[in-house]
Symmetry: C2
């Protein structure tokens, strides 16, 4: 273990709407094996952190998913699985974990890593986290900035400033929201911008003290819940709903309190089926066909795309390129790969129709 | 009834391979409602002929489909449903019916109409058949030639010759096989060519006598089965396998024995899902989306194509044009509309793998 005070916090939330109909509110993305490894994204997150933290892991998830998370992570102690009564956004989730850790160990450093991302080079990832823990120990909020491979418009960016100390960490000049294509290309040209993967490493007490500076009621509420868990049901619904980026990371960056450790490992948030396709290999004998699941279910003639055969049915493709087909027992999705983000529109329409059975 | 001696013969065969996975050997095309009218193609064929023939209809089908045909056509007398022990092509099927009719009524005129075609203007169709029956009564083999709407390469053509008598019938100069695009365009430019829809009207005895001229054993075998139905199992397997076009229509045309009645009604053999799409209307509020089945099962965003939602599942489309999606309980097909003919390749591969459950 790199640091006895270091704890991983895994917020396991989000329905993964753009992976519908595979991922749903009742069966969200992080519970699925989306890489064909036999381990869910949540389990892979645990596996990736375990060499650094052992069982020093807190998982924060919705009350509906507590049983599924406990089943997937049998080595997670029961008192390290925090069940949110309702979704209150990332600041409440991570802040609650921070308050629990602060109460256990005033020196605790937490690293927050989403339960539903995929990371390529795990050794490099752990080296970055270790460097981030060192930078966090001196009071910084530390993020890990992913080296962009293309001018993505779906991610936020981090502009790096001056080098801090003698480690890899640099000051964060600013966080910027998802840019348009032209701005993204400009960012890449400077060499100073990194993707914001939402990874934060910070001392628990530093995080809560910074939060108290800008959102005192939220910080006080979280610390009160940690001090007396019986008050959870009473206090939780009144907590401010805000993302950790807006609540702490951006204002702290403006005060020079945020550092970034550049990460060269491959990272993917598996944001949609097109993204999922890039994580898979071509199916045997089927160039351009990426399959998540049993490729024996496929019959393919002159076609390419991303196929998820999730039932016992045969999926037959004829003369169609860059298609996404997702077969589930109650819904089948057929989509152009380039429109992979837009499946959200289908989910929104189903929700508007009250089809909770499908969403 | 136009003519007391007129009988309709409906050969109900063919698996409709290019409509897989909807149509299969065990559940062939003619048993399906492919027009959304609530009546199968077989039932629609009956409905279309009934004003001309009443119950003077013979259906010839494979032994496996006898029960399904009888159920779909409750008004068909049991002794007018002929069960082929095995497929012996169209000459044996129609010739058997001709021999049965000849034995009942030496003056019988039969009109043979496939069980799985769609016809637009039924009044016009019946007027053509009535004219064909008149022309058949004087000893001609009469076909109905469909006015081409485009230079189709998937149909045979009939070249019309001189006018015969004072009806609409004309001599057939020649039958020609499926042409390439350029030849088809040439045919249309002359105004003399019609599509061969496989409709034949002829006196039963004339058909069998012509057959006896070129295929004497086949004619004798069919007449022997009609004279003594108990010999069916013995004689049927030895009958020559040949299409009526090659056995009789083409050689008879060379002898000036074939007439054609031009038909201006819309005709479609529903050869594939692209063809099926042209028979359907756009779904309500979904321009370019043709649905066979329950449109409420669809969720569509910026997409066009031909959709057959055959199960209880939702079919969602996002940003995909000219797609064919066919949802069945054990197979889902996703195909480019322009490749609709090529689904046969999938069926052939499944057959080669012994997947009789799916074909």
């Amino acid at each position: 273990m790199s640091n006895e005070h270091f704890w991983a916090v895994i917020p396991a939330g989000g329905a993964g709407t753009r992976l519908w109909p595979l991922s749903r509110a009742g069966s969200p993305k992080f519970l699925h094996d989306l890489t064909g490894t036999g381990r869910s994204l949540l389990q892979s997150t645990w596996d990736r952190l375990e060499p650094l933290t052992g069982a020093q892991v807190l998982v924060v998830t919705g009350v509906a998913h507590v049983d599924a998370v406990a089943k997937q992570l049998p080595d997670l102690p029961a008192d390290q699985l925090l069940a949110e009564p309702s979704p209150r956004d990332s600041m409440a989730a991570i802040g609650w974990a921070a308050a629990v850790l602060e109460a256990r160990d005033p020196e605790a450093v937490l690293g927050s890593f989403a339960a539903d991302h995929v990371i390529g080079d795990e050794e490099e990832f752990r080296a970055c986290v270790t460097a981030a823990v060192a930078a966090a120990s001196d009071g910084h909020v530390v993020t890990i900035g992913i080296e962009p491979t293309h001018p993505a418009t779906g991610f936020g960016y981090i502009e790096m400033g001056d080098v801090l100390g003698d480690g890899p960490a640099r000051a964060v000049a600013q966080f910027v929201e998802k840019p348009d294509r032209q701005r993204a290309e400009g960012y890449l040209a400077t060499g100073r911008f990194r993707w914001n993967a939402g990874m934060f490493v910070v001392r628990a007490s530093v995080l809560l003290d910074l939060l108290a500076q800008w959102h005192p009621e939220l910080a006080a509420g979280l610390r009160a819940v940690a001090a007396d868990p019986s008050r959870l049901a009473e206090l939780w619904p009144g907590l401010e709903k805000i993302a950790i980026d807006h609540a702490v990371a951006e204002p702290a960056a403006a005060e020079g309190r945020v550092a970034v450790v550049p990460g060269g490992f491959r990272w993917d948030d598996v944001g949609d089926f097109a993204s999922l396709g890039t994580l898979l290999e071509d199916a045997h004998g089927l160039p351009g066909v990426r399959v998540l699941g049993d490729a024996d279910k496929l019959r393919v003639l002159d076609s390419t795309g991303v196929i998820v055969p999730g039932t016992d049915r045969v999926v037959a493709l004829v003369g169609i390129d860059d298609v996404v087909v997702v077969d589930t027992p109650d819904a089948v999705l057929v989509m152009s790969r380039e429109r992979a983000q837009d499946v959200k529109g289908i989910v929104d329409a189903l929700k508007a129709q009250g089809r909770t059975d499908l969403t």
